[in-house]
């Protein structure tokens, strides 16, 4: 395959996505055959652009919070003082992984009410796990000679952490963030079942009124966002991996 082809496809996808959320009317003839009985073709209870931005905002807030907490936790349990918690935190992460996102979402409602908050909590909790797991892998599989060399060079624990350990684990941690973002983008759509303003609203409106055009536009926007963000983060990951001399998977 020619090297420029994937980049061209990505660019085309970005342009298509931007065109669609800003001017959905242009695409009306394409989606028209999917509706029946003169139902509206383009989602009409809110602007697609606003919903897309709200969707991204929800995912961004949750991911940033999850990253901070997960990396901090991973650092804590890999220090001598917190080493006692390492095996337990491993099994907790394993257990946590078995909680379905829908359950987390639904169970957060009684505590915080409907709207954006339960969605944020579910995304945060569910996003924690991949990041924590990867940060742990990154911090525990550092080449021993590099860490020894840093210690031999007289670096303090803090210096070793910020100048050696974290930069070296960055590609693996980024891999966890990428996984977490993709999961969150998808899970955020389910957030609309508890009245969060996300693109899930469009899909659910389509499911309720049997309007395929709605489902398709909601689904495609989220899918395009997921593919593009996944791609973008993979590229950043490869770049940092090259800089750190650690091969990406």
């Amino acid at each position: 395959m020619k090297a420029w082809l994937p980049s061209l496809l990505r660019l085309a996808l970005v342009m298509l996505l931007v065109a669609f959320v800003t001017n959905p009317g242009w695409f009306e003839p394409l989606l028209k055959p999917l509706t029946e009985n003169n139902a509206p073709v383009i989602y009409n209870q809110g602007s697609l652009l606003t919903l897309t931005l709200l969707h991204l905002r929800t995912v961004l807030i949750a991911t940033v919070a999850a990253t901070i907490v997960a990396v901090a936790l991973a650092i804590l349990v890999t220090r001598p003082a917190g080493a006692e918690f390492l095996p337990l935190s491993r099994s907790l992460v394993n257990i946590g992984q078995t909680f379905p996102p829908v359950a987390v979402l639904a169970l957060a409602v009684p505590a915080v009410g409907f709207g954006e908050k339960p969605t944020l909590i579910a995304l945060f909790l569910y996003g924690l796990l991949p990041i924590f797991e990867n940060a742990l892998t990154g911090l525990t599989t550092l080449p021993a000679n590099v860490v020894e060399a840093a210690r031999g060079a007289g670096m303090t624990g803090w210096q070793r952490l910020t100048k050696v350990e974290l930069p070296l684990s960055a590609p693996i941690i980024l891999g966890g963030i990428r996984l977490s973002v993709v999961i969150s983008l998808a899970t955020a759509t389910i957030g609309s079942t508890v009245a969060a303003k996300t693109l899930g609203e469009v899909i659910i409106a389509g499911l309720l009124s049997n309007n395929l055009a709605f489902i398709l536009q909601g689904g495609l926007i989220v899918a395009a966002l997921a593919v593009l963000i996944y791609d973008g983060l993979s590229a950043i990951e490869r770049y940092t991996a090259r800089r750190m001399g650690r091969g990406a998977e």
Partner: protein
């Protein structure tokens, strides 16, 4: 004497002290959807029983707080969990006025935090005991039997979640079997298609990147959208392919849910098959070739058994993921425990949500433990055999 604290114990003691003395143990509501009134342990239980529970919690928390032998910690966590499980049922009976069928009693935050704290202690003990895979499955079976006995004995019958259950006992089991069928059926289909596809990708290098990329992209499509998107093609198939509708293929319902779960399941199965086969030691393959084994003999006699633990890991990921994702099938009329979750959200009846969520979590949890044990057993056998 040198008294030493256990670091995790400090956390457990702190949160259980808060939960036992400051947080509500149970919630009482006059009917299923009005806001509840909080009841502390002493208010929710007869005086002696309540005091007994508080003493049990304090003693268990103290055992957790100091560095104590593992057996003692195990006993403390089990005793505390058993007392909590038993007495929340007693609270249900105690708080419900006699003959009142509308009143609802459900466990409140204090109860859940206490359960969390002592489960944490139990998990820590079990992790430190480093149990064999079979012993872990044994612990799971004992826990499941205990919960089953509590359910059958009727000691939880006055709790709200079980009242929701009694109102829809028939549909609970129907949706439950639909849930399991969806999760297991799509897994079976994914294994039947994914294994040969993985072997093919292993053998034909040109195919590998392409197939894995397509499967990767499918993973990034949000579940709710994929479920929705499949409505269109399956609806078309049902309308235009003779006999399809008779087979139960329809635009909405189980068919799109099944196909969506199947599509999500393919990547872990195919990717792990490829990784597993690639990890087969070259020496083993060379030896097999030297013995004059044909390609097919080598695949089934050498490569496949050696790659098996890795392939099983893929199957574990798929099964746990499918059990969770199957809840979303309810949104497109596919049934499953999600029906109760979404109904409960719609009616703001949280006990109904729990009726759907608790079995889902329990199923996923049990599946993870059992498959982890199987993986570990096949992996150790492999090491013993190749040593």
């Amino acid at each position: 004497m040198n008294i030493r604290f256990d670091k995790l114990g400090v956390v457990i003691a702190a949160i259980s002290a808060y939960a036992a003395f400051a947080a509500p143990f149970a919630t009482f509501r006059a009917n299923r959807i009005v806001p509840g009134q909080a009841r502390s342990i002493l208010e929710a239980l007869p005086a002696t029983t309540g005091t007994l529970l508080l003493v049990t919690i304090v003693v268990a928390a103290l055992i957790a707080l100091f560095k104590t032998p593992l057996v003692l910690r195990l006993a403390a966590s089990v005793a505390a969990l058993a007392a909590l499980a038993l007495l929340i049922g007693v609270a249900g009976t105690f708080l419900t006025p006699a003959g009142n069928t509308f009143a609802r009693v459900s466990p409140a935050s204090g109860f859940w935090i206490l359960i969390f704290a002592f489960t944490l202690l139990l998990a820590d003990v079990l992790t430190r005991l480093n149990l064999s895979p079979l012993a872990r499955v044994g612990v799971l079976v004992v826990a499941a039997l205990t919960i089953g006995l509590l359910l059958i004995s009727g000691s939880w019958d006055n709790l709200s979640i079980l009242k929701e259950y009694f109102n829809r006992a028939d549909s609970f089991w129907a949706e439950g079997s639909k849930h399991v069928t969806l999760a297991l059926g799509s897994l079976a289909a994914a294994v039947i298609v994914g294994l040969p596809l993985g072997i093919l990708c292993h053998r034909v290098e040109n195919l590998r990147a392409g197939v894995l990329n397509v499967l990767n992209i499918i993973q990034t499509i949000p579940s709710i959208a994929l479920f929705g998107l499949l409505i269109a093609p399956l609806g078309w198939v049902a309308a235009h392919v003779p006999g399809a509708a008779a087979l139960g293929i329809r635009g909405i319902g189980t068919a799109p849910a099944f196909v969506a779960l199947f599509l999500y399941s393919l990547l872990p199965v195919v990717a792990n098959t490829v990784v597993g086969l690639a990890g087969v030691p070259r020496a083993a393959n060379d030896a097999a070739r030297g013995m004059g084994m044909t390609d097919r003999q080598r695949l089934f006699g050498v490569e496949f058994p050696l790659a098996f633990p890795v392939i099983l890991t893929g199957i574990r990921i798929v099964l746990v993921q499918n059990i969770g994702l199957a809840t979303i099938a309810a949104l497109i009329g596919g049934g499953g425990f999600g029906v109760f979750v979404f109904q409960g959200v719609g009616q703001t009846a949280m006990d109904l949500v729990l009726l759907g969520a608790v079995p889902t979590v329990a199923l996923a949890f049990a599946a993870a433990i059992i498959l982890d044990a199987v993986i570990e057993m096949t992996a150790t056998r492999r090491r013993v055999e190749t040593a």
